[in-house]
Symmetry: D2
Subunit: 334 residues, 4 copies
């Protein structure tokens, strides 16, 4: 049995608590949240205990691993504390919104050899992973273009927006990582970014975008397009298209059922697509956790590293720079 | 130039007139219709002349071929007249509703060697023909099941129904022929038929069905299902599915455009499917006529023969017998 | 906690054991199988105990419910024993292959009021259930035709075939039940059946079919077509099409991922469809068990009754009669 | 009868000759080509005469309209000559590769009021036009993003590349125009362009790109993405996706037939998509010509104007500037 402390019992923490509880080889031991009621509720539902401080949750001898789903500004502190206590660490994205804090953390844990995984769940989606495999096995020949469409069903509230660190660092960061995942050993070296505020009043108040487009370029010359919106009325639009010298592979949207309808107005109309990330990536969230547990058991390095989290943030920061300067920005990862 | 007389200038005759006129190697010389106004209108639109009797239209020395699109009871008479005058003959389906008249006609023209083609247009549809080719080339291995869905968008009027000879002989006859086309040298030897009157008041008055299902069997044991309706609110539903030992091939419906729509109610909804036979089989009607002209030019036998017309009628008649007797009927083609 | 005995630890029993174990409100207490090794293995994997006789498994005071997944000939005996002990009973289909044993059992348990559910898992498939809902809510107007395609990926072995009771009672029985489910209060009153042995040597040895087609009719005149095969090389083909006065709804096949491929040979080719019933109906199996547990908790009658199991068998028997007599058979359910 | 002179009898001129010949209200009178053999062949096939100079073809009193399908450098000269002779003018895209020549031509013909249409055929494609209509009628609410995928099946030869004026002016110009068409009265004000040479040796020799991506922005803030390739092994990939506040509409690819195949390796694989522009836009080419003829008959201004041709070129030029300067370029149309 692997004993785990859950840091953070909000919406995403709750989801993780259920995944932890359902895993046959894992025990949810402690739940910590700055809001004690949240912690109590999640602990109760999953037969866990609450603790009153991060230190108790992270440094206890009973604990083998920690899962960090707390507010973003706490991430680096908990990662460092976990690593220094020799615990395996799973941390939700982003590592932090401030690259300096990320670099600081990196230095602190640099010498410590523990399983450390960042929560880029989309890498574990079966369909997206097929695209990555197709590139790896050259099923579509040499990759030439990659097109990612990623649109949320509805905009979040103002409070969320104020804490999220901006559209590129909060949302597009997933697509930056997915691009890096599919490109494999061919690094992204350029980004050009366009953000707009077209409809969302809250985004306007938060001085944020609700619509964005990007073009990135890899060292080998692969061109990557990403487009994002905070509101797709037809659901959580998640598509990946890889185009190469020998063909194309598309990871398409998924619907609730396999039903098609025909009336005097519509033909072969499908059911609504899966509403949002919790529905669309249910299995991916489980599979990323399974991977984390397998890494702990076998003492191997998780496939989604601290560096992956850092690099995605570096691209997001460059994207902001591009938007500001209205030009293409070269990316360096030092 | 091949000079053609058109017999019948109603809805379907009009369509044929346009196809004839557009063909570069063919001249529409005469139009005959029992209704002189119809004949005049079609002749005028296509730079042809009208004639006052079938004899003038068919037996004139100027004429190389006749296209029969007149009322069904006139078909055998015109075929015989055309054949005896040495004209190439294209005749719309069905040859006749009465098998005795068909047999009589067969005897009359038996010894005459002219190109004679029956208007089973669906054989010339690219998509359906792909299914036939797949069976022929054993792309799906051995054919085991064939499923034909054939539904009209809306029921015809009472007048049409009273003259049409019944649902099986008017509508299903196309599907019987399509089955024979796909089965090739493996003849249909059995039919079981189910007709219902579920919604159409005119069909009730005409003592006809509006809904029907069939199961047929070939000598090799292939099972064939056909289903028909006089009313599909979403359009002219035309599908063919061939299932075999090595796979399946489906000829699917076709939409007006390649557009898909997404709203908060529907996802990937396609445009309406093509409304009815004139829209769906536009190209097939042209291609069957091209085939007829090629057969005349090269003096070869058309691929859709008098026998094909007769055999489809024999199946339709057996289907009525099956419905009446509530049992499976063995089919003989003598 | 609801304590359950599992009767039968073969392939399907093993699957049920996992579903039982994963349910938060249920405890797998006992496993019984005539083959003790099977029982031991399943018990061990699910932290249950084995017992040496059906009586111990069924009549124990510790037990609240039994799940019967043993060989078909034992079903009625175990149902009766369970019912008489006041246990809730879930029984895999078919109840029995012999209608006399089924009628006998019905009489025995007639007066006993316990939750008793038959394992027609397809009723719990989300997509098929949408079709049933569409019919119920008249979303497609009045139902006029129903078309069920149900094909296994590969034929079973001879041993299975010899015990299965014939293609219609083993396989089509699911489609008969699904038809009844969708038709709701409109009973099936007629069946015409066609069975063929086209490819499977084992089926030939077992004097069984490998290919079949059916047309059924309901009291309201709805025509139903079913087609079955023991071998579809492209996977477990499970489709339901309901056609009505106001439209059509289709429950389509499902693929492993949402990926589409394009090469110089193929376009928009999807991934393989889900291989067989365990993959295709994973969630349906869970949901039918959840329904059973909810019925126990709330002491209500399960939606899939003993009568449903009996009526599907009656249709299957009539189908055999139709095949033998080569005619349509009227069905009575007394 | 409208008498037309065809300028240029190469590949595209030949296609236009056939469209002209098939139109019932139009007569192809003269064919001119600098290569007399080309002219002779096309004239013969379409019952037209050849002439020995552009002047004869354009200025003849017999002539009502000219269709310019000759080499790009001749376009402005022929437009001017036609306009000054009072002839209606249809000119293939681009007007010219040099904006100065285009401006010069514009000044020359500015005061002359004749029907003048530029050959942006894609505007006349039914499916793309549905997208434009959906934007116009606000069926998808306010347009927020537009994504155009446009990929040729195979690269042209070196000779073609050397004369074509570069990838952006030869190919993307269609997509720039299509964007302008869909955006309607909301002008494009910005472009950022990325060109790569990834695979085509001829393109390399011609100092041209084979792969490109673009982001454009309209005055209202609509973001537009275009991606192009000279080689898609699966065929001529032509897709348009418009995303708005109330939904999305996609104009998808089109296949030769409506057939789907299933084997043990692939499922629901469609037929090849239409190979190239002549196959994909057959009807669009006819419909743009019909529009031109209707404009002549009714003396109205064609919907695709000289200005449209000029504006698309201005965007293409700005795209080259963006690529060179590695930054976003503001577009002015003066």
């Amino acid at each position: 049995m692997i004993n785990i402390s859950l840091m953070g019992a909000g919406r995403i923490g709750k989801m993780h608590a259920e995944i932890i509880s359902a895993h046959p080889d894992v025990n949810l031991q402690y739940v910590y949240d700055i809001n004690k009621d949240n912690a109590l509720q999640v602990a109760k539902q999953n037969n866990a205990e609450i603790v009153n401080s991060p230190e108790e949750a992270i440094m206890s001898d009973k604990i083998d691993a920690i899962l960090i789903a707390s507010a973003t500004p706490t991430h680096t502190q908990f990662i460092t504390m976990g690593a220094k206590s020799g615990k395996a660490v799973f941390c939700e994205k982003p590592i932090d919104l401030d690259i300096h804090k990320v670099n600081e953390c990196m230095k602190e844990i640099n010498e410590i050899n523990i399983p450390l995984q960042i929560g880029f769940n989309r890498r574990f989606d079966n369909s997206h992973a097929k695209v990555q495999q197709a590139r790896l096995k050259k099923e579509i020949g040499e990759l030439e273009m990659l097109i990612i469409t990623s649109r949320d069903p509805e905009p979040p509230g103002l409070e969320y927006l104020n804490a999220a660190g901006g559209f590129f660092r909060d949302t597009t960061i997933h697509d930056f990582d997915l691009s890096r995942f599919i490109l494999g050993d061919d690094p992204i070296i350029q980004v050009t970014a366009f953000g707009e505020n077209l409809f969302d009043e809250n985004a306007k108040k938060a001085d944020d975008f609700d619509t964005a487009m990007f073009i990135l370029k890899s060292r080998e010359g692969v061109l990557i397009h990403i487009n994002n919106s905070r509101r797709a009325v037809y659901g959580y639009d998640q598509r990946v298209e890889a185009f190469g010298s020998k063909g194309m592979i598309i990871s398409n949207n998924q619907t609730i059922t396999s039903v098609e309808s025909y009336t005097n107005k519509i033909t072969s109309s499908k059911e609504p697509i899966l509403h949002f990330f919790i529905e669309r990536y249910t299995q991916a969230y489980k599979d990323q956790f399974n991977h984390f547990i397998e890494c702990i058991k076998n003492n191997i390095k998780p496939s989604v590293t601290f560096e992956d989290g850092r690099n995605a943030l570096i691209i997001a920061n460059a994207a902001y720079e591009s938007h500001k300067q209205k030009k293409t920005i070269e990316i360096t990862y030092e």
